[in-house]
């Protein structure tokens, strides 16, 4: 079912005028003939609006830094922020050395009132001492929460002193929750920190094996990264580091040796890919391992990049083998999904990535959007120069990198680069909008009110979203699939992931549980009257 501009206006008209004016710019009805369509994104959330967005701290510690398993991550602040980012994003991780895997731990300075009044630096220093005495990690990170920035604790100075004392890296992140307008600001702060202080600090000059790649913007939710690694390794790639799902500080230090960077979540990491290209000469391509066809396309693109006949052949062999294995499995699910419609609203890139997988099952996405994207994630990278920086964006320090004098290497000749660019998404991302059909709806920072209203009009069969609206949707009698945590299922990436996703989605549609919502007595009157024909009448 498509939506008209008029229907959209009627929904927005229910808002107070200022809110209406604001939200109007964040919602589009897709019109292919009017392409490009501009959408506003990465601007402030309106106070009082029930949003799904998080904060800079959530993006920094919760998303990017937290999954690095061989580091101790200290949250400097009162107890809550550390507590909520404790193992809750399902960044799975395993380690050859379990005594250097801190993924199930949660560290916080647990600031008290006196620390707020007198400053928390001393306490932080002591907590680092405790951590070193007990755990001896390879490195430490410190993430700041809201009050830390206000009272002016100098995290950098504490970190520097600790580095001198213990001879390991101590990274500090000023990712106070109020910075920026969403968790995206925190990704930026975290990634910049890793770029500046970790990447390129390793000893390796060259990759120990051919076809060395980094997988960027993959957080190994539900084991996604492991499925991607399985496929890539089977083809013959050498994975230097995954940034940051199941990631290791020690591996990340050598990210500079890769021949190619794969960018999975464009939103959280595109700027790092660019910096790696400037500094080390490593090109990047946009990949998508969600969905069978996307995975195949991606594998072929990577092979195309390396241009090695044996690698290409191996790629095709693996694709053929995997397809033969999964096709019949997928077919049985497609029958139950065919013709259904979905909303696909998730954080960064998943709002786009999962549409392909839905489509493969026969499910059309009628509304999609991102929680914390910027305009380029919708409209494509070509709009980046047009994006106006507002005060909130300017508050996030920007990192400028230059060619590394020793480690910069040209990996592709300029001619080959240009030639490849025509064939594969080398240094490009076209955004979500171009792939959405006429009449579908694109919403930035979809909020609770709009979710309810759009459901009433578009009547989707399933909603893919997060935990905060999951039960709202289900109370309406519609299945809801969490695409942040996958409802504790997954992985959903790669070939095996597609099958798992199909199985889970089919389950949502075919579960008998939905049939019980209306009690039998609601459909049947209490007193069943019988009409008796009286003789002689009529």
């Amino acid at each position: 079912m498509a939506m008209t501009e008029k229907q959209l206006e009627e929904i927005l008209a229910q808002y107070p005028s200022k809110v209406q004016k604001n939200r109007k710019k964040h919602v589009l009805v897709r019109n292919e003939s009017a392409d490009p369509q501009i959408i506003e994104a990465n601007t402030r959330t309106i106070p009082g609006i029930i949003t799904n967005r998080g904060c800079a701290y959530a993006g920094c510690k919760g998303v990017v830094v937290g999954p690095l398993k061989d580091m101790v991550h200290i949250t400097h602040g009162p107890v809550g922020c550390a507590y909520y980012t404790w193992g809750t994003r399902r960044n799975k991780a395993k380690s050859e050395d379990p005594s250097k895997n801190f993924i199930n731990y949660c560290f916080t300075t647990d600031m008290q009132e006196s620390d707020i009044v007198f400053g928390g630096e001393k306490k932080l220093t002591k907590v680092i001492d405790d951590v070193m005495a007990i755990f001896k990690p390879n490195a430490i990170s410190i993430s700041a929460t809201c009050p830390v920035g206000l009272i002016g604790d100098d995290l950098g100075a504490v970190a520097k002193k600790a580095e001198e004392k213990y001879g390991i890296q101590v990274l500090s992140f000023n990712c106070e929750g109020y910075k920026g307008v969403s968790q995206s600001a925190g990704h930026h702060i975290a990634n910049n920190g890793l770029m500046e202080h970790v990447i390129g600090k390793g000893e390796l000059e060259e990759a120990p094996a051919k076809f060395a790649i980094n997988l960027l913007g993959e957080y190994n939710i539900g084991g996604d990264g492991w499925e991607v690694e399985r496929i890539l390794k089977e083809i013959g790639y050498h994975i230097v580091t995954v940034m940051t799902g199941d990631g290791k500080y020690e591996d990340l230090r050598n990210a500079h040796i890769a021949e190619l960077n794969l960018v999975q979540c464009h939103r959280s990491i595109n700027y790092i890919a660019e910096m790696l290209e400037i500094k080390y000469g490593t090109p990047w391509i946009k990949v998508n391992f969600v969905g069978v066809q996307s995975t195949i396309d991606t594998l072929r693109n990577i092979a195309e990049y390396f241009g090695d006949a044996a690698l290409t052949q191996r790629t095709e062999e693996v694709i053929a083998k995997e397809l033969a294995r999964i096709e019949s499995k997928l077919d049985q699910y497609k029958k139950l999904c065919e013709g259904k419609t979905a909303f696909c609203f998730v954080g960064g890139s998943r709002g786009h990535h999962f549409q392909g997988l839905f489509k493969e099952l026969g499910i059309d996405t009628v509304l999609a959007g991102y929680e914390f994207a910027h305009r380029d994630d919708y409209e494509g990278r070509q709009v980046i120069p047009d994006i106006k920086l507002d005060a909130d964006t300017k508050n996030i320090p920007d990192l400028h990198v230059e060619k590394d004098p020793e480690r910069f290497k040209i990996k592709l000749s300029p001619e080959r680069y240009e030639e490849l660019k025509k064939k594969i998404p080398l240094g490009q991302y076209r955004g979500m909008n171009v792939e959405m059909k006429d009449g579908t709806v694109i919403v930035d920072d979809l909020n609770h009110f709009e979710t309810e209203e759009f459901i009433k009009i578009l009547k989707p069969d399933i909603l893919a979203s997060g935990i905060k609206d999951k039960y709202v949707i289900q109370k309406m009698g519609l299945p809801s699939k969490q695409l942040h945590s996958y409802d504790y299922s997954g992985p959903y990436a790669g070939f095996n992931g597609a099958v798992k996703f199909a199985e889970d989605i089919t389950m949502s549609f075919s579960s008998p549980t939905w049939n019980f919502i209306t009690p039998p007595w609601k459909d049947e009157p209490l007193l069943v009257g019988t009409v008796t024909e009286e003789e002689g009448v009529a």
């Binding site: 808002y15 107070p16 809110v19 959330t45 106070p47 009082g48 609006i49 029930i50 949003t51 998080g54 904060c55 800079a56 200290i74 602040g77 009162p78 107890v79 809550g80 922020c81 507590y83 909520y84 404790w86 250097k100 895997n101 199930n104 731990y105 949660c106 560290f107 916080t108 300075t109 647990d110 600031m111 008290q112 009132e113 306490k123 002591k126 001492d129 405790d130 007990i134 809201c146 009050p147 920035g149 106070e176 929750g177 109020y178 910075k179 005060a391 909130d392 508050n395 609770h448 309810e452 997060g466 935990i467 905060k468 999951k470 039960y471 709202v472 289900q474 109370k475 309406m476 009698g477």
Partner: protein, 462 residues
């Protein structure tokens, strides 16, 4: 699992937490506010706080948890959040139309010192609607403190002593417990024929039925009229000293309603004490049905005492819950050798004693030597267990790491439980709740015995 935790206990001087057993005030305030009918909780701070709290509560209850936020950016942190809160108030009432908007602060807004009452006074609040608030700095206390502070807010905004003579009704402040526990407490009072006002009351809000329609404000929650009338009650029963006594004390001061502070009625002794208070307050004999239930409970306890007797147990969680559970397992003949709460356990409000003293006293009376700590963390708790292993752990979901690391069964009780369902629909309070706890504990122990038994020792009848 948790392979980096050494057995050797070194003194930590930093005052930080490793694997905390508490979280911050605002989540407790948000939960308490959901217990007012047609109330939208509002988090005044950065939007991440609201997001985290909704996420955690939703995971625990598996039901919608609606709340709005002031969505601070850097500018608001510098210039103060007055403008954000005023905008939020306007938008909340025009878009979501609650009867009450319950604002709680965060560590951000507390640190910049936003004066919430004066912001509310200068905001456009529609006729007939109310904005209440509670100060909930995350750098004091814990989520239990936040719950307590919001309940106090309900008293200070609503309670009025309008009748010359107190009514034949009591106030029941149930504390930071599940909606099923609130339902069970109400059921017991109904069986007693007692008239009561329970506040907050999240039953019907976070355990609402599936009807095919979403309701922003479900049927449950204490109404504003009831909250006002709390000032006319003849007694306030504060269940759980840490979560409930502050509000009861304030009500005593404001409206001269006397207070009875009791343990959360977990287990037989605390339930007996609760019912005795109701019996005295209304001069009514204990309902026959409750006496029957008690008899059944004792029957089960005596039938199964050998399953439990002498078994060592480690208990952690919120002070009020841990106190109740400790008392109950002692009455089963178990030995609670490690008892820990993450929340600071000093005396608050006008009540006497502290968590550590209370628990130690119970242990001493039972002749059990144990580790007891308030304001501790699960790292300490784990180290205790490494040094003195136990047969069972009772606590929230976060205990599962230790349970796996040490291969000890875990009975999930308290908040939060993120990895199991149905728990919030089943009470642990009252005699029936005690029966359920007993079932969970004995099943955990017997499942374990079965699992570890040699073939020749594997028995059909136990």
């Amino acid at each position: 699992m948790l392979d980096c935790t050494p057995k050797e206990i070194k003194e930590r001087t930093g005052g930080g937490m490793i694997n905390p057993a508490k979280t911050c005030q605002p989540i407790g305030a948000m939960y308490a506010a959901l217990g007012i009918h047609k109330c939208l909780p509002h988090s005044h701070g950065s939007q991440g706080c609201c997001s985290f709290h909704r996420m955690h509560l939703t995971r625990h209850f598996r039901d919608p948890v609606m709340a709005s936020t002031s969505s601070f950016t850097e500018g608001s942190s510098v210039f103060g959040g007055g403008a954000n809160l005023k905008t939020a108030i306007k938008n909340v009432f025009s878009i979501y139309n609650p009867d009450v908007m319950a604002v709680h602060t965060t560590c951000l807004t507390e640190t910049i010192g936003d004066d919430i009452p004066s912001i509310i006074r200068s905001a456009e609040v529609p006729e007939g609607k109310v904005v209440i608030h509670a100060n909930t700095p995350s750098y004091q206390g814990s989520h239990v403190t936040g719950f307590s502070n919001m309940v106090k807010g309900m008293v200070s905004y609503f309670a009025e002593a309008t009748e010359p003579i107190k009514k034949e009704q009591i106030n029941v402040i149930p504390g930071f417990v599940n909606p099923a526990d609130m339902r069970e407490i109400k059921r017991m009072l109904n069986l007693m024929g007692a008239k009561y006002i329970m506040f907050p009351d999240t039953s019907g809000v976070v355990d609402s039925p599936m009807t095919g329609e979403f309701q922003m404000y479900p049927e449950g929650g204490t109404t504003v009229a009831q909250l006002k009338d709390t000032g006319n009650s003849k007694l306030s029963v504060a269940l759980g000293r840490f979560a409930s006594s502050d509000a009861a004390e304030l009500l005593a001061k404001k409206c001269q309603v006397p207070v009875a502070t009791l343990k959360t009625p977990i287990g037989i002794k605390a339930t007996d004490a609760f019912l005795m208070v109701a019996r005295r307050a209304f001069s009514k004999e204990i309902a026959a049905e409750l006496e029957l239930e008690r008899g059944q409970l004792v029957d089960i306890m005596t039938d199964t005492h050998f399953h439990f007797h002498g078994k060592k147990v480690a208990i952690f969680g919120d002070s009020d819950i841990v106190t109740g559970v400790t008392e109950f397992v002692l009455s089963l003949g178990m030995k609670p050798v490690h008892v820990l709460t993450g929340t600071p356990g000093g005396a608050i409000g006008s009540s006497v004693g502290s968590f550590e003293e209370d628990i130690q006293e119970m242990l001493q009376q039972a002749g059990v030597a144990g580790n007891v700590k308030a304001g501790g963390d699960l790292f300490t708790f784990h180290q205790w267990i490494k040094n003195e292993p136990v047969d069972l752990i009772i606590g929230n979901t976060y205990g599962k790491y230790i349970a796996r690391a040490e291969d000890i069964p875990l009975v999930r009780v308290g908040f939060p439980i993120l990895d199991r369902s149905v728990h919030s629909y089943m009470p642990i309070v009252g005699y029936r709740g005690a029966m359920r706890l007993l079932e969970m504990i004995s099943n955990a122990l017997l499942d374990r015995q079965d699992r570890d038994a040699l073939d020749e020792d594997f028995e059909l009848v136990m």
